[in-house]
């Protein structure tokens, strides 16, 4: 069954720089995805609660504050605690390659730096969601 990919786009932290998040949200929409945009100043708890209620395939975070080594692991842990560990956690911001690798080892998806063409993000999300849906959906039979 083909259904739209659902993505939550959120921006944790206290800075007001949401342009990146908005650009990505629009690009994903234009790629045929249903994007739930919750905007600025989201705590990890708020993000995970929204992801659960919206039954998204993907949680995409924009983090420019330098707090990515705290925020990504925290959101990932909360997702798992809420039984939503199957969701893809991805995102972008100013993040060093070393940090990206460390986070990937913990189970965070690919992260994207400044200047990434949005088509790369779209392709990655499509590929990853296709994989995750096939492994996961047999679990919850009506």
């Amino acid at each position: 069954m083909e259904r739209n990919i659902r993505v939550l786009v959120a921006k944790p932290g206290l800075d007001g720089h949401d342009r990146g998040a908005k650009v990505v949200a629009s690009a994903l929409r234009d790629a045929g995805m249903e994007v739930i945009y919750t905007g600025l100043r989201q705590t990890p708890e708020m993000i995970v609660e929204a992801a659960v209620q919206e039954d998204v395939d993907v949680v995409a975070l924009s983090i420019l504050s330098g707090a990515h080594m705290t925020l990504f692991p925290r959101v990932l842990r909360l997702l798992r605690e809420h039984g939503a560990g199957h969701m893809l956690l991805t995102g972008g911001g100013v993040i060093s390659k070393t940090d990206m690798e460390t986070l990937a080892a913990e189970g965070v998806g690919r992260l994207f730096g400044p200047g990434t063409p949005t088509r790369d993000i779209i392709a990655y999300i499509r590929e990853e969601v296709a994989k995750r849906r096939t492994t996961q959906e047999t679990l919850d039979d009506v």
Binding site: M1, R3, N4, A25, S26, L28, R29, D30, A31, G32, M33, E34, V35, I36, Y37, T38, G39, E45, M46, E49, A50, V52, Q53, E54, D55, H82, G83, A84, D140, D141, V142
Partner: protein, 311 residues
Amino acid sequence: MTLLDRLFNGDRLALARVITWLENDPDRRERLMSVLFSRTGKARRIGVTGPPGAGKSTLIDRLIVRFRLQGFTVGAVAVDPTSPFTGGALLGDRLRMQSLWSDPDVFIRSLADRNHAGGLSPATADVMTALEAAGKQVILVETVGVGQTTLDIADLADTTMVVLTPESGDSVQAMKAGLMEVADILVVNKDDRTGASHFASELRNVLEMRHNESGWRPPVLRASARDDTGIEAVYEQLNTHLAFLSQSDRLYQRRLRQSRAAITRALSEEMRRKVVSHPDYDTLIDGLCVSVARREKTPQDAARTVMARTA
């Protein structure tokens, strides 16, 4: 434990997944609805509609807080438009509904309208059913921002609230807009703006001129959802309208009307599905397109041919 057992036990992830199936998977939907539907029909159903940017989401957020203060559990459905070109959607209502984000007795779901006319997603009624089956006592539904169009919301809600702003147009606009006919309650939001008082009294004048056989004259209220003023009066009017419906058999009559609309929807959906799933459907249509393009057949003739051959 099955998905439905989990839903009845208050598992939010299960409710979320059930909604996904109701929206996307006809087979699962059939099985789910056969269990869920009979368990519902008691919740209060409130529709909120009005032009884009009128403040519907923010007003709903404020009302959720009022309902929670009175001890009601709340579900909300927020519908935003799907792009007819890409099939994608940007669902932004939730952004303004975050006051009680951590309250386990509030559940909010965003839906894309999937290009369905009338300001609602085709799954809206089913999603409302799932929310009620999961224990929500009040269900609020926000339509996409609509103007002069036929409105499905009155077929789903017991009380329909129309949210406007002082800029929403003069009384002539208001008179011809279909929006006015579905309104049980009118809210002039953003009432700190110029012209709010004037617009509200124009609306009242229009409503007074209207022939009204239901016995309910829709009140016009002023509010500012952002500043959280005037919300108490809106909440009171929701209760007054419910009390009005509960007198004699008005609520029952409304439910009969809703049921009729629901059957009609299901009927056209069933008929369409039956036709479209017929193995000869594609070939048949391909051939008929040519005849219609050459003006040898009218589209209506072609449709009748399709129905006859796929019956």
